[in-house]
Symmetry: C2
Subunit: 497 residues, 2 copies
Amino acid sequence: MLRQSTLDQLSQIVGPGNLLTTREDLAAYAYDATPRMGRLPDAVVKPGTTEEVSRILQMANREGFKVVPRGAGTNLSGGTVPIQGGVVMQLTRLNRVLEVDTENLTALVEPGVITSDLHATVEAIGLFYPPDPGSMTVSTMGGNVAENAGGLRGLKYGVTKDYVIGMEVVLPTGEVITTGGKTVKNVTGYDLTKLMVGSEGTLGVITKILVRLIPKPEAKKTMLVFYRSLDDAAQTVSAIIANRVIPPTLEFLDNVTIRCVEQYIHAGLPLDMEAMLLIEVDGPRSVVEEDSSKVLQVCREHHAAEIQVAETAEDSLRLATGRRAALPALARIKPTMVLEDATVPRSQVAAMVRKIQGIAEKYDLLIGTFGHAGDGNLHPTILCDERDTELMERVDEAVDEMFRAALELGGTLSGEHGIGLAKAPYMPLELKDAGMKAMIAIKKALDPNNILNPGKMYIDQYAGWQPTGNGHGDAPPSSTHHSSPITHDSPVATEAR
Amino acid sequence: MLRQSTLDQLSQIVGPGNLLTTREDLAAYAYDATPRMGRLPDAVVKPGTTEEVSRILQMANREGFKVVPRGAGTNLSGGTVPIQGGVVMQLTRLNRVLEVDTENLTALVEPGVITSDLHATVEAIGLFYPPDPGSMTVSTMGGNVAENAGGLRGLKYGVTKDYVIGMEVVLPTGEVITTGGKTVKNVTGYDLTKLMVGSEGTLGVITKILVRLIPKPEAKKTMLVFYRSLDDAAQTVSAIIANRVIPPTLEFLDNVTIRCVEQYIHAGLPLDMEAMLLIEVDGPRSVVEEDSSKVLQVCREHHAAEIQVAETAEDSLRLATGRRAALPALARIKPTMVLEDATVPRSQVAAMVRKIQGIAEKYDLLIGTFGHAGDGNLHPTILCDERDTELMERVDEAVDEMFRAALELGGTLSGEHGIGLAKAPYMPLELKDAGMKAMIAIKKALDPNNILNPGKMYIDQYAGWQPTGNGHGDAPPSSTHHSSPITHDSPVATEAR
């Protein structure tokens, strides 16, 4: 609980209409898109300016409450769950595209801008902002930057980090800094821009984002290819790259996912196939023709059982529907869906898919796997029911094994969803002791009072920091504030849902 | 001076053949490629393994001596000058290309690998590592990464940072961490990889570098274009981009530079032109044809006075000679050359060139300006004589004005040469107080004893840290160790040169 005087001050800063405190209002901010994780905040503030953000953070340091920055709450790793209570800082009021500079090919946006709105704005004038996370029609640029969001075009175009070249950011202490700038080249000081990208709201609150843009590709071509054998599909992926074609999109669906999608959208997908690849090439028209011929030849050489090629823009959209529908199609099968994003080097995709299939068998689980085969970023998705305790224990064990398998294959815990709470305990497995300590040292350097988004990325736990942010700088934390970082069995979670 | 016991221990770690202590040997490590800055180290060590690097850094923390990591010493901002004495750590023994992974398109190299050797290795199998700093035939990958080196292809391909996706790095305390990995997507923890890139040897000693590669462009075309008017040249640059062509190379030479180059290489360059542009487009053959036609049309529309187009690879090399010769051509005019790399947004290139010309007039200086017009990274080069005190005072004032002009135009102090000593005092002008403090906090977090490359990037000065690293952890520093960070008039500099 926050003191009334604290709430009064917050209300003065943001205006009474931008402070939420009723249980009904707070309940909406107890969760993000991650299942099984929740915690009621003590208040929600919606600042409208950088200065308001700064004043709130200064106050938080003075009074000792925690602040969890949040955009649209589409996070898939529990990153915006206010696990230690305190204040959720909702940044969606800062939602202007401040500038599109067509000469320097940059855009300056506020964190609340919806990603697909930025796409539409720049594409209307022939420019292109490539990152396209699955949630792009809802998610905000601030959230994308804080999580270093990926998407379907990572293989050719990279991820959010590759486009952010500057920002205005309020440090945890309330100080405002501006990093980077409109130049492609900038080596003045440490790269705080890229440090902030992907820091999951633990190092600063981003209030302005400068991204670079590229010319919009002239043309694209979409191909949908089915395989009876998983190995053939995997070898197709490698062979395409070996032929020096780097498609922006090279997506994979396994048999479980194909079946769920077909059940959902009735598009006539063949149900007996081991793998589906959605391949898109783009660029100048001549290159698209050349590259798509190469791709189709490679597919045939690797025993593709069925190939569909889009001839029109509508065709293209239709072919992509199956891939875009994968997540909702899986989600409707069971009450709970545990979606992971363990990522392996491209050459290990087939090995990883096989490991996942083995794990599904071992724990008797229904797992659909889809994802970005081109960049090794797979989404094994366990279909389950959180009310079934015995089942969920098997799910947790399976997830544990998947993380270990990804690391063994030279991969990483998270390709694009972030660590947040969901993958927090596995951090030391990948970063080792020295890596964790370096990270904690940086966190401590910029956020000495551990104000911003505490309890995430295993930082607090590894550093041995106790949760103290309950709004009473001087009072001992109440027992409900001592909830475990992963609240599988937290009463608050069930209560507030 | 280091204690004899310290030298004995260092000798034990690296072997007696890899420890230099004679004045003659040390003199070679007192300087890098930056004029007017030098300081004799107390010793030079050449470790041959990561473990040796780690042991030396642990020892440095125990005994309180400074360590300056160094590759080929081609630094242009005094970044490898051992300004507080101590040990120069020469990393060129670690010079193996450990792996080129053709399936995942990555290369793993040690820091001592020469940049152009990596180019040759990967291009021989149809792959491409784009960063090409001017010194690439001499400079090392470790130095490139530590400085985030740029080059001629920044506009289309970005800089070193855009290709480094992982590393092994020994932290200042001697702990070894591994960051990133072979996956394009990786959001596990803070991005220590990008934090290390461009940190100028102040946050860690890089012992392995993982870079991503791309397919080698199929073809390229080189064009050399001369203009009677600077504005026409600048407008050509903007118009090319507005036509959605992003050439890898879009280089500029002003009249002073054209004249110096012609005097040097006798290539028949026209001496009455205000500006020369070297433009290269690359990609699939069909795209190169299309893009070069567009470029040539834009050049004609903007009153190009003379256009040469390379029809063969030899022609292409010949046309690029003038640009590649710019630096040596300017260097031979006067005894001293002060080379800067202030960088502005592309749209401000003409304004910046005009400011530089105004500054040359105001201070009665000969300044040749060339550089990367496409990414706004200009190299105003003052031709002078360091023995002429009065002249050098004017040079310093001119440099000061140039930095301020770049910042006023929305640019940055350094596009690719680094801050080091040369631009150190200007850091607060760009980063402001809050930015400097954030940087110092990170430095302190990772290097609590200020062991690694002290006195650089204005960190020590702004933090109020006193130089103490003289090899005697307990003895007071001798007066010669108190030399100003910019040793224009340091007796050591003149003495050791």
